[in-house]
């Protein structure tokens, strides 16, 4: 029962306290405005280059912008404990660590879903994108799985914030690398082989591929292998993230560096 409270209520409180961009004055320009223009920018770039159609760029970027929450917000809800000097008191509590850790991911996941949904609406209203009829439900399923794996990835980065001095450098870098590697704007087949291999291990890649097929009218069952792979990648990242969290917690205690900034 206590773990459930830590998971739901603790996660919500942590999100409200530690996610720096929650004020509408910051949230709207950063979490909605920036993705809005990102989608327009890359779609027009695609038109200029004569590569693929609007739907390719709208779906790729609308899914990828979930990383605004999945990477940045996830990082903040973990790493900011240290920057705000609340990490030591938090870790002094006997709270279940798994509930404490995973609970922070739920608001981030919901936020990521909202931003991606907003991205699809932008493509539908402002660009030449209209998803196939009946594709909304399967698209939502693909999106939930993809945002989950991206959030797990971001929580891994956030866990690194228990040790590294500038985890937001890593978060920025990760956001841009996802843009390059995951087939968001460049078709995977046009990337060098080594980049394609790296992309297979990253979140978003399989989810974006599945979302493109589903938006074009494919059934959920026909992209099941892509969705399961994305889910598997998410589970692996979540496990690694939690492992890192526990490891760096123990290291921080041993070295007395929990409050070092």
């Amino acid at each position: 029962m206590t773990s459930l409270r830590v998971f739901f209520i603790g996660g919500r409180i942590a999100y409200r306290a530690l996610f720096n961009w929650i004020s509408p004055w910051i949230y709207i320009p950063t979490m909605l405005g920036s993705p809005f223009f990102q989608i327009l920018f890359f779609t027009y770039l695609g038109r200029f280059a004569g590569v693929e159609d609007d739907a390719f760029f709208v779906v790729g970027n609308a899914v990828q912008v979930c990383a605004m929450a999945g990477v940045y917000a996830a990082c903040m809800t973990i790493a900011n404990e240290r920057y705000f000097a609340t990490l030591a008191p938090l870790l002094a509590t006997p709270a279940n660590r798994l509930a404490l850790f995973l609970g922070r991911g739920v608001p981030v996941l919901l936020n990521g879903l909202f931003i991606s949904a907003f991205g699809f609406v932008v493509g539908w209203v402002f660009l030449d994108f209209s998803p196939a009829s009946g594709s909304l439900l399967p698209l939502a399923v693909v999106l939930v799985v993809t945002v989950f794996s991206c959030t797990a990835f971001g929580m891994g980065l956030g866990s690194l914030g228990l040790r590294t001095r500038d985890v937001f450098f890593a978060a920025n870098l990760a956001y841009y690398l996802l843009l390059l590697f995951c087939g968001v704007n460049v078709p995977l087949a046009d990337l060098p082989t080594w980049m394609q291999e790296v992309a297979k291990c990253l979140p978003l890649t399989h989810g974006i591929a599945a979302a493109r097929e589903v938006a074009a009218g494919a059934s959920l069952s026909s992209v099941a292998s892509l969705v399961w792979t994305e889910l598997g990648i998410g589970v692996v990242y979540a496990s690694v993230a939690f492992g890192l969290f526990r490891l760096l917690e123990a290291e921080g205690r041993r070295r007395a560096t929990l409050e070092t900034i």
């Binding site: 320009p29 920036s34 223009f37 327009l40 920018f41 770039l45 590569v51 704007n185 046009d190």
Partner: protein, 256 residues
């Protein structure tokens, strides 16, 4: 003489500070390389001949805009966080002359990104680096940096009353890349966008640099860049005086 010394010393100081900042290294080195790579891959996939250098120069300019936007846009906010804003405003030197070298430095540091994207393009994508008008290129680059730096000064002066300037910087990065034709020609955008592009220095800066590098007459664009810079400076002087007075009256100078 003391004004020139203030600007030079301030510029040098901020160049050193920004060069040591992880965030600006990311903005000036890593981010332009990533965006340049995306542009190169897309241009190659599209099979349009002769567009690689066009893309490399555009991606470099994107880096100059990003460093100017985040540096100048966040200038007041950082001074607030560091507790130095009141001291700088109270100093005998006009606040405009304190901000000017910072704005120029944030644009100058973007030169790293132009260099990086050209080198990156040359080494990995075989981008040809023969310049059609080398002398004009040497003039166009500092003129562009000056134009963008003064636009940065205008941003810094208008953001003095806005407590969430960094959020505004996040918002303005992509639209200016798009509207000023850094990678996508303005002619591909809706017609109403074109007049917007005329009042933004990056439009003329990238045009000057491209005309000098790829071929064309860069001098009108260089002239426009400098003219717009003068207009930005005049506007920044007025805004800064007005907003500084307002901030003093409302006692909001140091509020974060």
């Amino acid at each position: 003489m003391s004004v020139a010394r203030l600007i030079w010393t301030g510029w040098l100081f901020h160049m050193k500070t920004l060069t040591l900042s992880g965030f600006f290294l990311l903005t000036s080195f890593v981010q332009p390389m990533i965006f340049a790579s995306i542009a190169f891959f897309l241009v190659e996939a599209g099979g349009q001949p002769g567009t690689l250098l066009y893309a490399a120069l555009g991606a470099g300019m994107m880096g100059i805009w990003s460093s100017t936007l985040f540096g100048s846009g966040g200038a007041i906010q950082w001074q607030r966080w560091q507790g130095t804003l009141e001291l700088l405003v109270a100093a005998p030197a006009p606040f405009l002359l304190v901000l000017l070298p910072l704005a120029l430095a944030t644009a100058s540091i973007g030169l790293y990104s132009l260099t990086m994207t050209l080198l990156w393009g040359r080494l990995l994508f075989g981008v040809p680096l023969e310049l059609v008008h080398p002398f004009a290129f040497i003039v166009a680059v500092p003129a562009t940096v000056l134009g963008l730096g003064l636009l940065g000064l205008l941003l810094a002066s208008t953001f003095i009353l806005y407590r969430h300037a960094n959020a505004m910087s996040n918002l303005l990065e992509y639209p200016v890349w798009l509207v000023t034709g850094l990678l996508v020609p303005v002619s591909l955008l809706p017609v109403w966008v074109e007049p917007l592009s005329w009042v933004l220095a990056p439009t003329w800066g990238v045009r000057a640099i491209r005309d000098a590098a790829i071929g064309g007459d860069p001098w009108p664009a260089i002239g426009m860049c400098l003219l717009l810079g003068a207009v930005y400076f005049a506007l920044a002087t007025v805004f800064l005086r007005h907003f500084e007075r307002l901030a003093r009256e409302r006692a909001t100078l140091a509020l974060t």
